[in-house]
Symmetry: C2
Subunit: 398 residues, 2 copies
Amino acid sequence: MDDVYIAGAYVTRFGKFPDKTLRVLATEAVTGALADAGCGPDEIDAVYFANAAEGLLTGQEMIRGQVVLDGTGLEGKPVINCENACASGSTAAHLAFTAVQSGAADVALALGAEKLTNPDRARTFAVFQAGWDVERFGGPDGKSDQSAFMSTYADMARQYMARSGATIEDFAAVSVKSHANGALNPNAQYRDPLTVDEVLASRVIDDPLRLLMCSPIGDGASAVVVANHRGLARLDAEPVRVLAAALRSGSRDESETPVIVAARAAYEHAGIRPDDLDVLEIHDAAAPAELMVTEELGLAGPGEGLALFHAGATRIGGRFPINPGGGLLSRGHPIGATGCAQLTELVDQLRGRCGARQVEDAKIALAENAGGWLGGKGPAVATITILGRDGACPGSEA
Amino acid sequence: MDDVYIAGAYVTRFGKFPDKTLRVLATEAVTGALADAGCGPDEIDAVYFANAAEGLLTGQEMIRGQVVLDGTGLEGKPVINCENACASGSTAAHLAFTAVQSGAADVALALGAEKLTNPDRARTFAVFQAGWDVERFGGPDGKSDQSAFMSTYADMARQYMARSGATIEDFAAVSVKSHANGALNPNAQYRDPLTVDEVLASRVIDDPLRLLMCSPIGDGASAVVVANHRGLARLDAEPVRVLAAALRSGSRDESETPVIVAARAAYEHAGIRPDDLDVLEIHDAAAPAELMVTEELGLAGPGEGLALFHAGATRIGGRFPINPGGGLLSRGHPIGATGCAQLTELVDQLRGRCGARQVEDAKIALAENAGGWLGGKGPAVATITILGRDGACPGSEA
């Protein structure tokens, strides 16, 4: 992408906020992202809003963005409501990238907001079933007390154990690493470091997954302001370049997961190789994902993600720091908010604003966001976004 | 838009099809649009899918597009699920326009599909409440036996009667005109001409609205293939140019409806005036809309839409033929399918393929699609799309 920048980014703290409405969370994210971009709502030409659960939890569908934007100063703007399961937030961002690249907008806002906490916990868990093929696998019945999605992750984890030799202790260690990072992030849902023993002692969700290997239920919002060069002239921002954005779907019969396919497209578009990456945010809805995704992204060969992890490469200070903000496991995972939260973390890493969890001299960053399931090897949808500190990627300086 | 074309378009028959799944309807539309564009699924770079009701009717959310595309040959493609109430379909089309304009895709598919018929009629009617601000006005309670939305339309109709002198008989006459057009459209849900007396004798929904002044519940799908000039080279199509596409939201406190604001932007972008239009599809969810929208679009002055109608201007053969395909009133209104159905009608009008309902020598066409309600004067969202037969609009030949 020759002329696409993230000019502002903001994430609310993630957590269980029974007293905050979706509108309150969204408004905080909008206000924060606009302030970071150095503009007011008048400068925003279009809004892309991501949310996944409101329809089933509150009955609000169809115009979710227009509803939450009431009172933000963005009333009347072009608003597009979009969804792609747990990748909804990055989908909104990708639409904003496309809009400013086309010139349809010069400054666009991508906003993701989600409120999963509900007095009826079973209803919250049932929501996740809406992210697979309901006709094939059954619909949200409101009777679950945990997400059937975690059974899918458990299946994938068992398959990964068989082919890589990974153990339950390895998955626990991934969670420990993520929580150590989250402890350094003021906006993380969980800010207490954990031990391997604590993770292993937590409730079994579906073997090998323990509760503390799974991303939590929570609420939150995140937003990014996206601009082209004409738009930047209207802002007072420290922008980060978008080097590539790729989105692909999965299928039942896929030979490669959409993560692999989207990553390949994104690397090619950005003109970089995995080895050029300095920091990553990946979609660790459950702890084993970090190991698997390092392989799908080409940071490690097949079955070698475990060795990469054990070598410390994915820690802050390692060769490929992954989820310095705590990832989904400890920053939290309010579905529609996650994609822009990942981008916010990376934008702040590239701008050197991450304090105790700062990755030194980060120049090129990658976010992997994924969601849903159609019965194939990977998720129903995956997005890859590659960001660069200005001047970081000579090959893309078109 | 300098380089955006609709290269293929298709609409299924609209109606009550209890035995057809959403996937079956969507597959027919995809297959038809690809055939019309002269390509197979391999040529499609991205898909924008519109749907509004599946979440509340079947529990399918989040990845609705990926689910219905299973089996179409489009598995694995980039898919974005979008929503904007009754304007969802045109929203998908606008995203496709932006994508091909940006070069993110050279050929994109916009698909809208909806299945509203449900064994539980009250559940279908309750869905419509999800298109307003649920926190403010109450949510889908599953107990209605008709859409509370029609009460909003009835309110607007009463206000219009007060300021224009329009009568119930006038609204009935609008419905008669639309059904006369629908009778010429093999894909219309209702194909029987009506008389004013028949309309007036139908059940009172909310005074002044009678049942036959309201768009029906139904199922259907529609798709358009969108391309830039690089994309056109890969197709075997008779393309129509997209001269302008504008989308605006409403608000509680609006001074002008989003239809007015979007139309102004679209006219300016296309470099045309209302007087340049040859044929229109407008969002007549209820019959009075035709009169009001002609004023919002500037075809008639305030309060003068009625006189325009009485002069026969909006009939096929008149100065501004409106809804030659029957409009929402008789072609039908499966929410997410309507936007692309309007575009399909206009594309076929510009290509001279509409047989008995053909508008002679139509060169420039406008579609108005709208949806949702936030408590303001107009809808929560409105889109305006202006199409031109190639060479029809010298001012836009950039």
